[in-house]
């Protein structure tokens, strides 16, 4: 895990599947500019977010209750400038519309393409 310094970006990865969680954190940590923490449920993610306000959150849609969309709603209600990237196994247009209406910052589909993850980070720094 990348060491936490003042110049690193703080990321939260919310994912109940350990393999996907480790692949994503490995991509983030390999950049050397991101310090990532993880949550396995929506509830712990919301609590972590409220306490630590990470720069970016990668949030799986299919997590146990509250699901990703509900967690996004809760996070964005708490902080309307929160940057939350939705993560999913398949893109369903109705969920995409809902995520946009709640102010999602981005949308990535598994399997993770490192370039796509990094382009989201690049956008964050612009």
């Amino acid at each position: 895990m990348t060491e936490k310094t003042t110049n690193t970006l703080q990321a939260l990865v919310v994912e109940d599947d350990i393999d996907s969680l480790e692949v994503l954190t490995s991509i983030l940590d390999s950049t050397k500019i991101i310090h990532s923490e993880s949550s396995r449920t929506g509830e712990s993610a919301i609590a972590y977010f409220k306490k630590n306000r990470p720069d970016i959150t990668f949030l799986d849609i299919d997590i146990p209750a509250p699901n990703g969309i509900e967690t996004l709603r809760e996070i964005r209600t708490f902080d309307s400038s929160a940057k939350v990237v939705m993560v999913t196994g398949c893109s369903d247009i109705e969920t995409v519309k809902e995520a946009i209406s709640l102010g999602a910052f981005g949308y990535v589909v598994k399997p993770f393409v490192p370039e796509k993850i990094l382009s989201v980070i690049k956008k964050l720094r612009e």
Partner: protein, 227 residues
């Protein structure tokens, strides 16, 4: 290692003829082309794939080109989205550019215009993978090993859940497989797991049993390949 690969483009148009024409031109130029027939399908495909650019018709049923572009731009979509329309007066073109389109191609499509615009946007027919992290590759290999090592246990769990007709347990297993298998190149496992999860959610018992059988067979096939 040579990471050069074909550049993938998405062509969105509700007219079969227009899509075919564009596909033919882009194919000849060496690009790999994917298609969508309306804005909604385009958004789904754009999210799921890695396109270097999208060439988007304006007037389409279900969802128009500008609506689809707006959705993607809201999600900070990176690749250029090119508008394609028969309305080619400067005022209309400027409107598209203001809406976030990166360029414009007039209909009927002239191949030279497509070539020039892609050149201007620096989108060549082949690309190189930029991401190269040995640490990440190593981690990916380790996780893949662990995934393969767990296959016998996963197969047993699936068989046990099937014997007990426990669809709740089956859903848990296939949900996890759906998320992880494709990370290690097992796209078919992800696809069957996705079908299985949908069948369980919809209460389609017989489909769920058939899909579980297919999933077990596919996992055993991978296991045999490893031996």
């Amino acid at each position: 290692m040579n990471n050069s690969k074909q550049t993938k483009l998405l062509v969105v148009d509700d007219s079969d003829t227009n899509r075919l024409l564009l596909q033919f031109t882009l194919d000849e130029l060496g690009y790999q082309v994917d298609e969508a027939v309306d804005g909604e399908k385009a958004v789904e495909k754009a999210i799921e794939n890695d396109y270097a650019a999208i060439i988007m018709d304006i007037n389409m049923p279900v969802m128009s080109g500008p609506e689809a572009a707006k959705m993607l731009l809201n999600l900070n979509y990176e690749s250029p989205i090119i508008a394609c329309s028969a309305e080619d007066d400067q005022l209309t073109i400027n409107k598209y550019l203001d809406e976030g389109f990166s360029g414009f191609i007039a209909k009927p499509i002239e191949p030279i215009n497509v070539i020039n615009l892609l050149k201007k946007l620096s989108i060549g027919p082949s690309t190189e993978d930029k991401f190269n992290s040995p640490e990440h590759q190593k981690k990916l290999e380790q996780l893949g090993e662990r995934f393969r090592g767990n296959l016998p246990a996963i197969i047993s769990k699936l068989q046990r859940a099937m014997e007990l007709q426990s669809f709740e347990e089956l859903q848990k297993i296939c949900h996890k497989l759906k998320g992880s298998a494709s990370q290690f190149g097992y796209e078919r496992v992800t696809r069957i797991s996705d079908d299985l999860e949908r069948a369980i959610k919809k209460g389609k018992t017989q489909v769920a049993i058939d899909k579980t059988t297919s999933l077990v067979l596919e996992l055993k096939r991978i296991e045999n390949e490893l031996q």
